[in-house]
Structure formats: structure tokens, C-alpha cells
């Protein structure tokens, strides 16, 4: 048995040793800073500014700025530069981002705003989107600001919270009929929409046509003739487009399509299932995996065997942990990539490039055990 308890008992000691040994603490916790700790934030000067560095180095603050800015256009001799850098070190000077940003009109922060009422990060679909945003921001070296929803729903207030200089660009996730869209579209703030494409805002979304088509083809191939489509609780452009594509393809393939709405419970579906066998649907296409999972529960409750009696097809395919994932037949949507691509486009847009109004990412049919 190994001595893990020993490791624990000295754990606090380790901190001091490693920290003091490894780095110049003066650089991290400088004189000015220590004073600041004592006084608290409100009583007087807390941070050391460029002017104090200048004084200590015997130059003016303009010169300090030139050295620190690193613009090769100004040639500052090594001696002065060295004096300034020493002063920076000794005083523990750190440039104030706010002042810098105000002057430069740039914050190096991208924002994300979701108007969705159903926004919950542990929802794997959302988590993947956030991960994509994070990855994208890391790539282009920006921090990511999650703009809070506490401001309510008044578009003017929300817009003001978004377009006030705090961020250099914005990724949004909202319905195209949100009043905010018009404002953002006309704003000078670079914006990219994800998931639900928004007209007049560059958007990154799934190839919903492909999604709808793949599902219809699969069902037809499997010999289904009558199927049910379970629609979204809200008229989201992306879901509608997939729905329409599905219907088009279903018609072409001779599939009869019944419908019921996700939010309305299973009464309608139950009614369909009570039809005589000749008229009874043999598959349900759900607008997303969660609806499909809930339906599977319902089938299990009613003793409907899946997929023999009823096939169930989802849409999303966001991997939970591989082991725990249900073997749902679904269409895998690259949410992570959607978000990351959005940030990449945003970055190009911010840099002044033109970007495509609409970017579609392919989806992939994934045959599971439910249909």
C-alpha cells in the first residue's frame, strides 16, 4: 500500500517551496501591489501606472509606452530600454487593459450571447457549442465573454449591453425573429450567428437539407411507408428547414408523413399507434435526440418494442460519455465545429475580410439500435 497520506500531510508545505523556488515573486507580487492589498481598492491609487515607471526610469511616459508597445518604428537605444524594463520589473507594472482598449478601440474579447430560454451548459449540445467557441477563441487568442441574460428581454437594453465597446465581435445564438437581429445586423459590431441562420447576419449552421434527406432515405430503404415527424416546440429556422427537407424527400420516396409536436405530450402519437395496423406508422423521426430519448421512455412504458414495432430516429448525436450513450439511431451534428467555425469567421470579419453569409456544415447519419 502506498503512502498517499504522507503526500497529503505535506501538501500545504509544497506550495511555498515550489512557488518561491520557481519564479521571481517580485514580478508577480510587487511593491505597489502589496500596498494595494493593505489599503483596499477604494483608498487611493492601487495600480502602478506608466507614469511612475517613467519617473523611476528617468524618462517620460511617452517613451515608456514606445518601449512597451514594441513598435519597431521607434528606435529606442538599449540603455534607455533597459532602464525602463528594470523599472517595470521593480514596480511590478502591468499595462491597464481598460485604458489600452479605450485608446485602441479594441478589447481582444469576443462575446457570446444566447437569447434561448433553454440555455443550460450541462446540456451536451450547448456544452459542445461552448467548447467550440472556446477552442476558436483560443486559436485566435481572444478571451470569451459570456454575456449574461440577467438584463431581461428588452432588445434595446440587451443591444446596449452588447454593442458598447466591451467586445470586438459577437457570436449569437437566437431565433431569426428575435427583435435583436435587426439591431445587430445594422450594427457596426461584427456578428456571426450560429445554429439558426439569421438573414443579413453571416451564419454558420448545419446542412439541414442533408439531415432531412438522410433520414427520409434511411427510412425508405428500411421499407417504412408511414412515419411520424415529431416537430420542435418553437419555429426555429433550422428545425423547420430540416423538417421541410424531410417532407420533400419523403414525398419523393412515397412515404406518408404524420406529425405531432414535441411539447404537446404523447396523446397524438398514442392516437396514431391506436390505428389499425394497416394505417399505423412504423417510425418516428424526432427533431432532436432529447425528444427521441423521451419517446423511447414512453415506448418502454407502453410496451412498444423498438425498433420492431416502432423505429425511433433522433437528431444531434452529441456524444455523452461513450459508455453511457444510448444507442440511438440519429444524425450526428458537428456542433463543436459550427461554433469554432463561427469564431474563425468572426475573426476574419473583425480583421476586415468579407465572409460568406451562410456556411453549412455536413451532418452524418449514424445507425444505432433504435431504427
Amino acid at each position: 500500500m502506498r503512502g498517499a497520506t504522507t503526500g497529503l500531510s505535506v501538501a500545504h508545505g509544497i506550495v511555498g517551496i515550489i512557488c518561491n523556488g520557481g519564479y521571481n515573486i517580485n514580478k508577480l507580487c510587487a511593491v505597489g501591489e502589496a500596498i494595494a492589498c493593505d489599503r483596499g481598492r477604494r483608498s487611493g491609487k492601487v495600480t502602478v501606472s506608466i507614469r511612475e515607471v517613467a519617473k523611476r526610469a528617468g524618462v517620460t511616459h511617452g517613451t515608456v509606452s514606445k518601449v512597451l508597445g514594441g513598435n519597431p518604428k521607434y528606435s529606442i537605444p538599449q540603455s534607455t530600454r533597459q532602464r525602463i524594463l528594470s523599472a517595470v520589473d521593480e514596480l511590478g507594472y502591468r499595462p491597464n487593459y481598460l485604458a489600452q482598449s479605450l485608446k485602441l478601440g479594441r478589447t481582444d474579447i469576443y462575446g457570446f450571447y444566447s437569447g434561448s430560454r433553454h440555455f443550460e451548459i450541462p446540456n451536451a449540445y450547448i456544452a459542445n457549442i461552448l467548447e467550440g467557441l472556446r477552442a476558436g477563441c483560443n486559436e485566435c487568442e481572444k478571451d470569451l465573454l459570456l454575456v449574461g441574460t440577467f438584463r431581461g428581454t428588452d432588445p434595446v437594453t440587451v443591444y446596449n449591453a452588447l454593442a458598447n465597446g466591451k467586445i470586438d465581435g459577437l457570436v449569437v445564438f437566437m431565433y431569426e425573429y428575435d427583435a435583436l437581429c435587426a439591431a445587430l445586423a445594422n450594427s457596426s459590431l461584427p456578428v456571426v450567428a450560429i445554429v439558426d441562420p439569421v438573414p443579413s447576419i453571416p451564419s454558420v449552421s448545419l446542412d439541414e437539407q442533408m439531415g432531412g434527406r438522410l433520414i427520409a432515405e434511411h427510412l425508405a430503404e428500411r421499407g417504412h411507408r408511414r412515419v411520424v415527424y415529431c416537430t420542435a416546440y418553437a419555429p426555429m429556422a433550422s428545425a423547420l428547414e430540416r423538417h421541410a427537407a424531410f417532407l420533400r424527400e419523403a414525398e419523393r420516396l412515397g412515404l406518408a408523413v404524420l406529425e405531432f409536436a414535441d411539447h404537446a405530450g404523447f396523446e397524438e402519437l398514442d392516437a396514431y399507434m391506436a390505428l389499425p395496423v394497416s394505417e399505423r406508422p412504423t417510425a418516428v423521426v424526432c427533431w432532436h435526440d432529447r425528444a427521441a430519448e423521451s419517446l423511447l421512455g414512453h415506448c418502454s412504458d407502453l410496451g412498444i418494442s423498438v425498433p420492431t414495432e416502432l423505429a425511433v430516429i433522433g437528431f444531434d448525436g452529441v456524444p455523452f460519455s461513450p459508455e453511457s450513450q444510448m444507442r440511438l439511431t440519429t444524425v450526428v451534428a458537428p456542433w463543436r465545429d459550427v461554433a469554432r467555425e463561427a469564431v474563425r469567421l468572426l475573426d476574419r470579419r473583425v480583421a476586415g475580410d468579407a465572409i460568406p453569409p451562410l456556411t453549412h456544415l455536413s451532418v452524418e447519419f449514424k445507425e444505432g439500435a433504435t431504427g
Copy 2:
């Protein structure tokens, strides 16, 4: 069958109708803004400032500031106030956050930084932490900045990126032996650590003592005599503390404990399982659910039946979707609450209150089907 296709075909039309009908577009997309769109950001003045509002209202910018600031200390007559508000409306003025923040020394943004190399949002554990941060920030009306990791690992650089005025407070998630800790502890930036407690930084974490104890008690109750503890890949204070608590309690209860490390594969465990029955362990306690899930896979591969031959206990209990979650016996950790509590404390700290150096949240034993 319902006509969803109709809804789709007019979808784009809806935008205009709803947006124009519902709100004052001038407020959202004002004159100055429209011009800005044309010119782009770099060519000249983009935003309308308080001075332009002042000019239009026939007052000075100081007066405008007073009206907009809403400080009751200054009493501005209705007539002037009205003129100013109209000008604000007509010009589509929005206060510049950067300027405001620079002046006030406050950004209304809380930051989150994770030094962990394993930071991936789709990991349910992380997702729940982020959700807690989001909820907490929403409660105290702050935006949440995810500080990127692209700056590398040099503590000076990272520290500069954190303590530069960009945020009012910080929640961190890192090992206590990270060099950054010392810097943050001495910084004037209010900081709260989560998950792994950091000495000298107020921390919110789980009651690991309780976690370790609950597991040992459960195993003893179930009649186990020889168990294996699967340890973390890194010496995290929280995991070490739980481990130690488990060992203590196990000893008290007369449980023999073998060990193996998560990262080292299953060779050690296999060796234990090859022992004669009298010496063979009957349960494995994993330092977190992921390790447990992976172990379950291993057992399944080797034909070891769980929990008959070997009980498997996890730690985390973050719910994936309820339907898809494995029925793992585990200890449920309230990650969401840990993060939310951290933000609440941070908010109090920023307001000037004293906050406890250490906050522990209770965990809950959850009996599943694996032990």
C-alpha cells in the same frame, strides 16, 4: 398532416414584420451607427459620444452625464432631462463601457480561469461548474469572462492577463502548487478558488472527508474486507484529502486497502484479481466516475461480473441525461453549487465583506447497481 413547409417558405419574411412592428428601430439602429457601417471601424469616429448628445440637447456633456448617471444628488429639471433623453434616442447614443469602466475602476465582469490541461466543457463535470458560474454571475448581474489559455503557462504572463483591470474578480480552478497561486493570493484582485482548495485564497470545495468516509462505511456495511483504491493521475489536494479520509475510515472499520493509479492502465488491478480468492479484493473505489466507467468497461472485457465479483464505486455523480446515465454507485458532488457559491462569495468579497477561507459543500452517497 400540417403545413410546416408553409411556415418555412415565409420564414424570412417574418423577420421584417416582427422587427419593424415591435420596436423602435431608430433606437437600435441609429443614424451614427448606419454611417459607421459604411465607413468601417477604422476610418474616423464610429460611435456617438456624450458630447454629441450634449451639443444636440444644447447643454454640456457634464449635464448629460448627470442625467444618464441617475444620481439623485443632482436635480435636473424635467425639461432639460427630456431634451437630453430625446437626443440620446435620436442619436442612438450608448454609453461606452470601456470609458465608464476606466473611470470607475470597475467592469462588472467576473473572470474564470482554469489552469487545468484537461479542461473540456463537454466533460459533464466541467459543464456543471460552468453552469454554476453562469448562474452565479446572473444572480449578481455580472458578465462572465472565460480567460483563454492561449497565453501559455508562464505565470507572469498569465497573471498579467488576469490582473489588468479587465475583470472585477476571478474564480480559479487550479492546483495549489501552481506558481500562479502565490501571485493571486497577494494580488489586489479578489479571487476565489474552487474544487481544489488553495491556502491563502478563499476556496469552495467539496467535503472530501465526508466523501471518503461515506464510501468506506458503505463498503464495510456491505461486508467487504479487501478493497482497491484507484488514485488520481495528479496529486490534487481534493483527491488526496478524500483518499486520506477513506484510508482513515477504512482502517477504523478494518478494511484492507490496496491501490493502483488511474493513469497506469489496469495491470496492477489485474494482478490483484489474479490473487487467490482469500486475498482477492472485492471492490474498487475510483477517484472519479470516469475512471469507474472505464473500469466497468475493463471488467466487461474480462468477464468480471459487477457487482457480484467486484463492486465498483465512483465519485462525481454528475447527471448526464437521466435516461442515458449509467447506474453507477457513486458519491454525488454538487459541482454546480460549488461554482455558484464561489461567485456569490466573490461578489461579497468585491463588495468589501470578509468571506470564509474555506467553504465545504456536502456530498451525497448514491447507491446504484454496481456496488
